[in-house]
């Protein structure tokens, strides 16, 4: 027995009322809930539609804790997947032939800093570039911040990730700003190289997010 449009709208609102924030979670819950309610109504002719919805919801979440637990599980597995992907991508920059470019970038920073009498004062320039790149992504995040009133996990993760890189670089710069020793130069060169690599990886993932959002909107 297929549910009517109004009944599906009721389930959509029910999910929204139960504090589901992310589109990826909502999409999966909605499909499962509709199919589950259809089956409950098919098997039990006495049950009301509203009770069938409550019954279908009870199956969700760890030990029946509902949508909230489902969302948390989804977020945790997403974070794990992204972390693995990020580490895998960053490792690629330390394998041949990319390691050559990484080394050139790192040594480039070291030599550049050695060129100035007060080198660490010039590092603010690099940090400014990093921060400008990171904040320029604000428009992309804002444009895609919601689909049908729900946030996208990937978009949020992208935004926080890219801005964390900028903040991390700024913090490292603050640490090494008053130290013009070789150690400070090496430290700054290393952290800035990693920051640039991280930004490159995040910008690559943006393409994937963009195509996924477009696919959602076309469906």
């Amino acid at each position: 027995m297929k549910l009517a449009e109004e009944q599906i709208t009721y389930i959509e609102n029910y999910i929204k009322r139960n504090d589901v924030k992310y589109y990826e979670v909502y999409m999966e819950i909605l499909d499962h809930m509709v199919l589950s309610v259809e089956a409950i109504l098919e098997n039990d002719k006495e049950i009301s539609f509203e009770d069938a919805v409550v019954q279908a919801k009870k199956q969700f979440g760890k030990n029946g804790y509902g949508f909230q637990s489902f969302s948390e599980e989804k977020l945790n597995s997403f974070r794990e997947r992204e972390r693995t992907m990020y580490l895998k991508e960053i490792k690629k920059f330390f394998t041949f032939p990319k390691i050559v470019l990484t080394l050139i970038g790192f040594l480039g920073f070291v030599f550049f800093l050695g060129y100035f009498e007060k080198p660490m004062k010039t590092t603010n320039f690099f940090i400014l570039i990093l921060i400008i790149i990171a904040f320029s992504q604000l428009k992309f995040w804002y444009k895609n911040r919601k689909i049908n009133g729900y946030k996208l996990i990937k978009n949020e993760y992208y935004f926080y990730g890219i801005n964390s890189v900028a903040m991390w670089s700024w913090f490292n710069n603050m640490l090494s700003n008053d130290a013009d020793s070789i150690y400070a130069k090496l430290f700054f060169s290393l952290t800035t190289t990693i920051s640039f690599l991280s930004l490159l990886i995040f910008i690559q993932t943006r393409k994937k997010i963009d195509s996924e959002i477009q696919a959602y909107q076309q469906l």
């Binding site: 999409m27 999966e28 499909d31 499962h32 979440g61 597995s77 997403f78 693995t84």
Partner: protein, 111 residues
Amino acid sequence: MKNSQLYKGSLNTIIMKLLEENGRMYGYEITQKVKEITKGELNITEGALYPALHKLEADGLLDVEVEKVDNRLRKYYKLTEKGTTETVNRLAELEEFIKNMQTIVNPKWSY
């Protein structure tokens, strides 16, 4: 899930085996298929199924496809190349486990 402690450790293998046989499946379909095969003896709850699916996806063993069905989006899961190889390994492990359990529980049945 009936006898949940016994089945818990094998849930991922059950999911992977089903996906190996059926190509791609969505969450609700998996719960119903398990119920159908086991004649209602084994009931996988959503609370157990989805965390397992998401974990397998995070581990790179499953891939997803989203399609529009009946005016809403449906998420299909399928095995990746790594997942297909892993399924073979896990099934072999499970068979070995069953064999060992038979030996322990009823030595006469063992071979």
